[in-house]
Symmetry: C2
Subunit: 342 residues, 2 copies
């Protein structure tokens, strides 16, 4: 079914996309429907983060279903709030849409958004819907809350702290490589092509439908551990770790053999003849949490499911190094993002 | 001077655009530089609004300087916060940029943003910078504050209330028509063309560098008048008034002769052979405030500089009508926005 947006107009479209949206958090006083949403945060501090996702840069509609794009667009923002040791509570959602989209496709996008919001307990409180002359543009702002004394910044890492990371790294990046390869093969072969993703499901899931680590924040809370610094891994371990050490005025040492990598990631890297550690260091989109804690929390942290100690914080003069399996030191480099889309 | 973004990379660009940004509001605990900004609103309610502005839809770089685009992008968000009877305090700014932009152009954009923020007392607290495959995309989220009992929604208008509007209407729309005409003439004539905007400066200013009506909110506060309903006029008087009466379950009567129109707007409409009342009703981008107050506030309101009483709220059964100069009734229609850019 394909219903053109022109059949219902702006107000009709907004009504259709938002009609089942209700709010559930006590901090949400008024959601969609006025010039601004109204919130109340009298007992907590308020966290605000925002992400702009553009077609062709952040997602490719040829292999990303719109429902997954909606889900992921929400998740990447939640992840930033968890990285402050807070909890996401509201989002606003703006979309720029071109006429090639039909109502059903936009409903798919909203289904993904709503699913993420319902799983993570977040209210959709507003947004903006606009025409786009070109591709799909998605802008999400997420508002969260945290107790005043418990917010974790990037700048609190101390010499001697241990460096921890949740989950495993590099899988989302390998998932992207896999999808790009299949897309290329599909374009080359067309009707003769059947994609085979068996044994690579984890990589696809990490790329197309990532999760934010609410469970890690809850585990830390239950164990009464407040990290000294924390960040989420969106641009790759290397660049995120440098953000922490730069902001904290420290250096770091991490160990290659301790970087958590899933076997599917390793197998895929082998197939592609890529260095799996490079994928973990620079790949990005893992949405795992990277944090530092005092050495006194070592036993508590290592007892936690899925948390890995990968190294320690050093004096700034020591620099930022990866210690290879052979014991050699490799300086960590920030690869970051290339503003020209390379 | 034209410095390519590639010479400094992502982090260099963000540093350069944000290096002089400091925060001034007591509610801003931590601005740019971490996964999320941190705010504190323990005594006020929090207002959140967001706007997505896309090149070719919301602005045309052939006649809008980037500094003005930055200024206007901030203003349209502030206006939504004032429309709730609140005060804007923070914004996040996301931009998607293509490689045809140089650093100096993005600095111009930020200069406009910063100017608006400094005039209206708003902190820039975060954002996102991304590559765009096509045009410039700007997403701004504005956070504001209001006293709990003083927030004004759209749905509080009561039968018998008077309907008030600040400033004058239709000028921004006529300014847009003028710019579009000059652009067309420039394209037709090229070197032989000299634009003549004398006597039309007000129209251009209203289109290119609008202001938000903080002064009106301050006047109402000083006079202890809390409107029963309020909205800002971004889509034209007609459609905004229908939002209020629809949300409030009422009708309305407004008088053609009372709609405030500047003489430059009227003269330009004459030149273009357009109906100036239609421009005021459906033109949009005025960013004036439309509000309703009890009849008991009539004397206070009419004594205020630049506030015009244009009609009254009626029972829903009376419908929504414009009373023409000849006494005839014309039903108000929502023109709204066309999602296909028409």
């Amino acid at each position: 079914m394909r219903t053109e947006i022109s059949t219902i107009g702006e107000f009709g479209l907004i009504r259709r996309l938002t009609e089942n949206i209700s709010t559930g958090n006590s901090s949400t006083i008024q959601g969609i429907g006025d010039d601004a949403a109204v919130l109340e945060y009298s007992r907590k501090q308020v966290l605000v983060t925002t992400d702009l996702l553009l077609e062709g840069i952040h997602f490719d509609l040829s292999y990303s279903p719109l429902k997954h794009i909606g889900y992921k667009a929400a998740i990447v923002n939640f992840s930033d709030i968890y990285a402050m040791n807070g909890h996401p509570k509201q989002i606003t959602v703006s979309i720029g849409i071109s006429k090639r989209f039909c109502i059903e496709e936009l409903e798919e996008f909203y289904m993904g958004l709503k699913l993420a919001c319902s799983i993570y307990g977040v209210d959709i409180i507003g947004g903006d819907t606009s025409t786009s002359l070109t591709g799909l543009a998605i802008s999400i702002t997420c508002i969260g809350e945290a107790d005043k004394g418990k917010i974790v910044y990037r700048n609190g890492a101390k010499d001697g702290n241990i460096i921890c990371v949740s989950g495993d790294l590099g899988a989302a990046y390998m998932g992207l490589q896999l999808l790009e390869r299949e897309k290329q093969m599909f374009e080359d072969l067309r009707n003769d092509f059947v994609a085979d993703f068996s044994g690579k499901e984890y990589l696809l899931e990490r790329q197309l439908k990532p999760e934010a680590r609410k469970d890690v924040i809850d585990m830390l809370e239950q164990a009464s551990v407040i990290p000294t610094a924390m960040i989420d891994i969106s641009d790759g371990l290397s660049s995120e770790l440098l953000h922490i050490t730069h902001a904290s005025g420290t250096g770091c040492r991490i160990y290659e053999e301790r970087i958590p990598i899933d076997y599917q990631t390793a197998a895929m890297a082998e197939t592609f003849n890529m260095n799996v550690v490079t994928a973990a260091l620079n790949g990005g989109e893992d949405y795992e949490l990277l944090f530092t804690v005092p050495i006194s929390s070592y036993d508590i942290i290592t007892a936690m499911n899925g948390i890995h100690v990968i190294g320690y914080v050093s004096e700034a003069a020591m620099g930022n190094c990866l210690i290879g399996r052979d014991g050699g030191e490799i300086p960590l480099m920030a690869q970051g993002w290339n503003p020209l889309g390379g």
